[in-house]
């Protein structure tokens, strides 16, 4: 293929990938992408950037809409997006090694949210050192714990109630062998989880508490939008403490696009110790 044709084809690769070209132009690009190695390589690179842009939410609104209405309509292309999300997560994990706290590392909750954490009773750093757990306004002696029914869910992150504890979990990088450990003291009725996200690509999020022994989801939040917050995105959910037995758990976060496509965003493993 002549150099001018190649350059021309390269300029058209992005609209070609989004099927925005008229037939005659699309056919020219098609021939180039099949028979010209250089253009085929460029097509891959442009497609990677496009998919990454969608995952990282850097596409402009028009491109994003087209991506969701056309590109995501094919199972083969959805599979590419899925792989790209995993790939980027692995890359960010590798890039962040040594710069960011390790998986599950202690991240203090911020007082700006009005959680009277610092005024609260205790801060417990467990033996693993991977999790900071804060107790807020624990009831004084004899006050009954209000255990929420198993099926309860939240439409939006509720205000922290008395008898609750809170913890922050970072995206799993799979570099840590032991999951963070949670100790639920008597009298605690809810555990608020703040599940930090690598990105905020989805229109809605849902968290499910999974028992890995049975692989059953024992509790699920409703779909929610992310609250506006400084310092990165996070899904915040209150899990009834009564559901948490001494064992391993996983909180699985699912994201839903505006087109209704659902993807697994991440899993946050932790274990509960006996009271």
């Amino acid at each position: 293929m002549a150099q001018t044709d190649t350059t021309d084809a390269e300029r058209l690769l992005l609209p070609y990938l989004l099927r925005l070209l008229p037939d005659d132009q699309a056919e020219r690009v098609e021939l180039a992408t099949l028979s010209d190695d250089q253009v085929a390589e460029r097509l891959k690179a442009v497609e990677h950037d496009l998919v990454d842009g969608y995952i990282r939410d850097t596409l402009d609104a028009v491109t994003r809409d087209r991506f969701e209405s056309y590109y995501l309509s094919s199972p083969i292309r959805r599979e590419r997006v899925r792989f790209a999300a995993e790939f980027l997560r692995a890359i960010d994990g590798a890039a962040g090694a040594g710069q960011a706290p390790a998986d599950g590392a202690a991240v203090p909750l911020q007082p700006k949210r009005g959680w009277r954490l610092l005024a609260a009773a205790a801060v417990v750093v467990l033996a693993s050192g991977t999790l900071m757990l804060m107790l807020t306004d624990r009831p004084r002696t004899g006050e009954p714990a209000a255990v929420a029914p198993p099926a309860q869910s939240e439409a939006s992150p509720p205000s922290p109630s008395p008898s609750s504890i809170a913890l922050v979990l970072l995206p799993q990088t799979r570099a840590v062998s032991e999951p963070p450990t949670l100790h639920v003291a008597p009298g605690v009725s809810r555990v608020r989880f703040e599940l930090r996200l690598d990105s905020d690509d989805y229109a809605g999020y849902q968290a499910g508490l999974r028992d890995p022994r049975t692989n059953a989801t024992v509790w699920r939040s409703t779909w929610m939008t992310l609250p506006a917050r400084a310092g990165g995105s996070a899904v915040e959910v209150d899990v009834p403490a009564g559901l948490l037995k001494p064992q391993h758990y996983s909180l699985d976060v699912t994201g839903r696009t505006t087109a209704g496509v659902v993807h697994v965003v991440g899993s946050y493993a932790f274990s509960v110790t006996p009271p």
């Binding site: 990938l17 099927r19 460029r42 083969i76 790939f87 590798a94």
Partner: protein, 219 residues
């Protein structure tokens, strides 16, 4: 959705498959890599034309070429150009076939719907996801340090300083931005192949069976 008539044609002897591999290599032994690359391009071609059975149609294209090669030489160069010609015929036939059968072919819609549900179930289960993450880690760790460093640097979160970082990476390596993007993309594709291999999926199987296995599968 291919007809019985097509199924009958869709057979290639091992000799035909070998001739196909040699022809695609075009004088440069690639040990099957070229076949996989052309097949990947063909799948992309059919997929972008909204063909639900893009994999089958890519195999169909290569099968026809292999059968031609069993009978005669193909003079067209590069081979991929000839693949495009055949692929267009296969595409048009598939579109015609779809038009003829669209009313009675509701199972196809069901299949798509089932596939979407299956996607969702997979997501929910998370087992596949976990397996792939584990493979991805393993494959990433197995890269040579300089290649690993390149893709980490190239693809890491780039919201703030991405372009500058890529530019300085290209300068450090003494290559253009265009060459850098292609180099990073190649490593990434290699990683995807490694993940598939790690999961015991596609690549090895595709090379083992060629388009021949497809006909056995359809029968």
């Amino acid at each position: 959705m291919l007809t019985d008539e097509v199924r009958e044609e869709a057979t290639v002897t091992p000799r035909g498959f070998q001739r196909l591999l040699d022809w695609l290599d075009d004088g440069v032994a690639s040990h099957g890599a070229r076949y996989l690359e052309i097949r990947r391009r063909l799948v992309g071609y059919f997929d972008r034309r909204d063909r639900p059975a893009a994999d089958d149609l890519a195999d169909e294209t290569l099968t026809r070429i292999a059968r031609t090669l069993e009978r005669e030489e193909i003079a067209t160069r590069p081979p991929a150009r000839y693949c495009h010609v055949v692929a267009r015929f296969v595409l048009l036939e598939d579109i015609r076939r779809e038009r003829r059968t669209v009313v009675l072919d509701e199972p196809r819609l069901d299949a798509v719907s089932r596939a979407n549900s299956a996607d969702h179930r997979d997501d929910e289960a998370g087992a596949t996801h976990e397996r792939r993450l584990s493979c991805l880690d393993r494959c990433l760790a197995s890269l040579k340090p300089d290649r690993r460093e390149l893709i980490v640097e190239y693809y890491r979160e780039a919201r703030r300083e991405g372009i500058d970082r890529r530019r300085s990476l290209a300068a450090r390596l003494g290559i253009t931005m265009n060459a850098l993007s292609i180099r990073a993309s190649r490593i990434r594709e290699g990683l995807a192949g490694c993940v598939e291999g790690c999961r015991g999926t596609r690549t090895t199987e595709l090379l083992r069976r060629g388009p021949i296995g497809l006909s056995a599968q359809r029968r």
